[in-house]
């Protein structure tokens, strides 16, 4: 329970004071417990981005809830915003639990973290319907194309032709989280790359202000299970030396892939030596134009590139809470007298069901 703000004991001499945000809090207050992910995992970079933005935006942590499904990605809410309630729910079911939570307390800010397996495989149904309901929340997919936690099977976003050490070659076409979101009438759709701090932070800032659901599809390399036989990089030595082929439980330490800010396109070499191309939405892309957004995504899909940035936004569509027209007071905090009608109401109801008196 190290959650209470602790100030470093003043030592002699001039103490190094950490920078404080508008609430007078150091950034460390926005951390969580130590990560248990693999060193170099993209998911950890994303957690760091959330910590930064939350600190910079002076977020009141007690108003935030962190929701997730099951997977390496879904574990991360334990690793940021220690002052927020979190709920590591069931595999693929984060959307419904989040929907219930926001209905219960409309004042909460929901940050949902999911994986590509969690969202695009088992969870695609709940995902699409949460999008369709425009549940007010940030929905982050930490997308690595594999099932990290269960040791590297393909997920539904794995690229066609991608190959994996123990699972052969993926022959199926991938589902694209952004295209799926748009098809289901998402009101904010964006994509980024775990190693692009600037872009993620700016998208998070936008998402925090968005009215309904914000879907952020963040490509987040798995350092461990994208290491297949054809890999060209860190494993080269091992391969030459026959060393790595039979090692099932070896996860060599790796570095996070970080990229610099880029102009319009950037090619990135992944841990496994494969190559992806990110392409920023152009300056003159109008993110309120849905057909343009779809075109952008579809043409990038044809070129096998990933469009990044704010792809689509619609601030006109009511969110779920508005549609439900709920009281301003969160349902969870209504006083008993608003939850239970008075006895006279029940008497009247009983009256409607009793025998008619003789007329």
């Amino acid at each position: 329970m190290a959650r209470k703000p602790t100030r470093p004991a003043r030592a002699s001499g001039k103490p190094r004071r950490p920078a404080l945000n508008g609430l007078g809090l150091p950034k460390t207050e926005y951390r969580g417990r130590p990560s248990t992910l693999c060193k170099g995992c993209g998911h950890d970079s994303i957690s760091q981005r959330i910590i930064n933005v939350a600190w910079e935006h002076n977020l009141e942590q007690h108003n935030v809830v962190k929701m997730s499904g099951i997977g390496c990605s879904s574990k991360t809410p334990a690793y940021f915003l220690q002052g927020s309630h979190g709920f590591n729910s069931l595999h693929g079911r984060m959307p419904s639990v989040s929907t219930g939570a926001i209905v219960a307390n409309r004042q909460l800010e929901i940050i949902g973290i999911s994986g590509d397996g969690d969202t695009a495989s088992i969870g695609i149904g709940q995902f699409k319907h949460a999008v369709r309901r425009n549940v007010p929340m940030i929905y982050i997919v930490e997308n690595n194309g594999v099932y990290g936690l269960t040791k590297g099977q393909f997920s539904a976003t794995a690229d066609t032709g991608q190959s994996m050490k123990y699972h052969g070659v993926n022959e199926l076409p991938p589902l694209d989280i952004c295209i799926e979101s748009l098809a289901a009438n998402a009101t904010l759709v964006a994509r980024s790359f775990a190693g692009d701090p600037k872009q993620i932070e700016s998208l998070l800032s936008i998402a925090f202000k968005h009215r309904g659901i914000s879907v952020l599809d963040i490509i987040s390399p798995c350092v461990t299970f994208n290491n297949h036989d054809q890999s060209t990089k860190s494993y080269a030595w091992g391969r030459e030396n026959d060393l790595v082929l039979n090692i099932v439980d070896l996860v060599p330490p790796a570095e996070e892939i970080q990229i610099e800010d880029y102009e319009s396109e950037i090619g990135i070499e992944m841990h496994d030596g494969s190559y992806i191309v990110l392409k920023k939405v152009g300056e003159n892309h109008d993110p309120t134009d849905k057909r343009a957004a779809e075109d952008l995504l579809e043409s990038a899909r044809e070129e096998q590139k990933f469009i990044t940035g704010l792809i689509y936004v619609n601030e006109d569509q009511e969110d779920l809470i508005e549609m439900l027209d709920l009281t301003e007071t969160p349902l969870s905090h209504l006083p008993d007298r608003k939850l239970r009608p008075p006895e006279a109401v029940l008497d009247a109801i009983n009256g409607r069901y009793t025998p008619l008196g003789t007329t």
């Binding site: 729910s89 929907t99 709940q126 006895e343 008619l356």
Partner: protein, 609 residues
């Protein structure tokens, strides 16, 4: 329709007053519901104990439907197997309906339906529906609908049911739609007049106004009462997915909430009703709401219960309050969606993988549906666990005479929730899963609580008292033992069984839910034949000492239930220690509500062993 064994002898010179059953056979989608409800309410308004069971098909139009009305001066409200009067409006089933009609009975039939084999042990009343309706200017689309009033009028004539009562009941049903009331009444009158002019009424059955029984009682469906219970129980979110026979519960809630639960200050809803995309989402939403401190509930039936298994395990283990109504229908699988059963008892009690046991409630009347409607939320909050309420199609979708709904006698109980002040005081002493009171129930906090000590991380994985992830063997064992300790606490908190003891030590009956009227009637019949019985009605699981004592106190206890495996019997066997011959299972499962006759026969057979 079941085989009729005995013929009621009409030896009494006078009429049989307020004691008969009648069945109306129609096709669904013809709108006969209005006619049947008018009959039901007319009888109810006259003070006559009456019960109506709708046996309908799992489709929307054109298949056989039967509506059975039982009138019982003694106040017996169970389904009866015998049937004195049959109204045949459906050519598709007429041959069978007429053939299985018991001797001495009356058959009222549309004259368009020919009598295949004329029997001389029944009386036929022909209703020339088409020509009787012809004079009324009704568009074809509605002809079938108003035609049904013909049999209403005919029955009024047969039973000497005053047409004014039909009029009043029509007014009740069609509230203020004057021309509709008028039209229906006139058609009914045409039916009445036709019979009156054509036949002499030699039938033995009559209805007469009665005092006492219905006074202050209500006529209502269990699902409606359950929904109202939730409304008065402060439900915040009803997330549901349509499935017969539970849909009308959610729909009744969606109907009642906007009437009774708008914020008195702002006029805004203090509730939400969400039709989810499936049952997994429905239960997930309800759990999310419960976790965040509101009252979440979902309604479903068998297939939905199966789909909710994983989520119920999460709520059990992460200790989140949620209420699930299972309005049971016939299973396994899709089964018979429009037939009643009590086949989910064992499933519900042990739902989900791993070691789980749940609180399950069994209402047996609309009044109790209402009570458990609010109480389930209190229990879920107090115990921080899922509460499943098991009712069934018979109680949920049929009209039952019931004691009036009773206003909750306890304030809303939110269980152990800490606010910011309490948290700041407790500080590091608070642990989400720390059992400070020894009852297995720990204190929780809600998201949004403005205290630095409020936050914790909820998970369905192994966790210690601080809710941190742990794989330590002793942590797991310790935590699960505490959760199981809650079950012991639950034994004391759940509604206690309803017990009638007046028979001494020989025979005890145990039953539950909608079987209640049939068991009550059977006990009277058994007592009449010299077999007095004691009776315990289980109102909740887990069971407690009272139930064990009841079983131990009797030479034989018979557990009566409407399923194939004797599921309640199995659970009682598990949780008590009595030899097989002392705890006997009597079960039946054919889609119909149990009858007093069947129960009586069962008990007689058992006692004769």
């Amino acid at each position: 329709m079941e085989q009729i064994a005995a013929v009621p002898e009409l030896t009494i010179s006078d009429h049989i007053v307020n004691d008969f059953s009648l069945t109306v056979a129609t096709a669904n989608g013809t709108g006969s519901q209005t006619s049947n409800l008018v009959l039901m309410h007319a009888l109810f308004n006259m003070g006559i104990p009456v019960t109506g069971k709708n046996i309908f098909p799992s489709n929307i139009q054109g298949l056989p439907t039967w509506y059975s009305i039982r009138v019982s001066s003694e106040g017996f409200l169970a389904r009866r197997e015998l049937n004195e009067i049959t109204v045949c409006m459906n050519p598709a089933t007429a041959v069978e309906d007429m053939a299985t009609m018991q001797p001495g009975g009356y058959i009222l039939h549309d004259s368009a339906i020919p009598v295949a084999v004329r029997r001389d042990d029944v009386t036929y009343i022909e209703l020339p529906v088409k020509s009787l309706v012809a004079p009324f200017k009704v568009p074809t689309a509605l002809r079938a609908y108003v035609s049904n009033q013909i049999y209403v009028g005919a029955l009024a004539w047969l039973l000497e049911l005053p047409m004014e009562e039909i009029h009043r009941a029509l007014q009740q049903q069609l509230k203020g739609k004057d021309s509709a009331i008028q039209l229906n009444l006139e058609v009914a009158q045409a039916g009445y007049d036709h019979c009156n002019e054509t036949y002499e009424n030699l039938a033995p059955w009559r209805v007469e106004p009665m005092a006492g029984f219905n006074d202050n009682r209500i006529l209502i469906e269990g699902n409606t009462a359950a929904a109202l219970g939730a409304v008065f129980g402060g439900v915040s979110l009803v997330s549901w997915y349509p499935i017969t026979p539970s849909s009308s519960l959610a729909e009744a809630a969606a109907d009642a909430l906007p009437r009774y639960r708008l914020d008195p200050d702002t006029g805004k809803p203090t509730f939400a009703v969400i039709q989810a995309e499936d049952e997994l989402a429905a239960i997930g939403m309800a759990i999310g709401a419960g976790w965040a401190g509101a009252r979440g509930m979902t309604t479903t039936s068998g297939p939905g219960i199966s789909l909710m298994a994983e989520f119920i395990g999460l709520a059990y283990f992460a200790e989140i309050p949620v209420v699930v109504w299972d309005v049971q229908r016939m299973g396994p699988s899709t089964g018979l969606p429009t037939r009643t059963s009590q086949g989910d008892i064992l499933s519900a009690y042990t739902l989900s993988h791993g070691d789980t046991r749940h609180v399950v409630l069994f209402p047996s009347s609309p009044k109790e549906c209402f009570e458990f409607g609010w109480r389930a939320h209190d229990l879920a909050d107090q115990l921080q666990t899922p509460v499943l309420v098991l009712t069934d199609l018979d109680l949920g979708m049929n009209l039952w005479i019931s004691e009036p709904l009773e206003y909750p006698d306890e304030p809303i109980n939110r269980g152990k929730v800490l606010d910011a002040e309490q948290l700041d005081e407790l500080a590091a002493e608070w642990g989400r899963y720390r059992d400070v009171d020894g009852d297995g129930i720990a204190y929780r906090t809600l998201p949004g609580t403005p205290s630095n000590w409020a936050a914790y991380f909820t998970r369905g994985t192994g966790h210690d008292e601080m809710s941190h992830y742990s794989e330590k063997p002793e942590v797991w064992e310790h935590n699960l033992q505490r959760v199981q300790r809650k079950l012991e606490t639950a034994r004391g908190l759940v509604p206690q069984p309803d017990i009638v003891r007046d028979a001494g030590e020989r025979i005890g009956l145990i039953s539950l839910g909608s079987n209640h009227p049939a068991v009550q009637e059977a006990r009277v019949r058994l007592a009449e034949t010299g077999i007095p019985t004691d009776y315990l009605r289980v109102r909740a699981l887990p069971v407690n000492q009272t139930i064990r004592d009841f079983i131990n106190d009797h030479e034989v206890t018979v557990v009566i239930e409407n399923n194939a495996d004797g599921q309640l019997h199995g659970i009682l066997k598990l949780e008590t220690d009595v030899p097989d011959h002392q705890l006997v299972s009597s079960r039946r499962c054919n889609g119909l509500a149990l009858s007093a006759r069947w129960i009586t026969e069962q008990i007689i057979t058992i006692t004769q062993r």
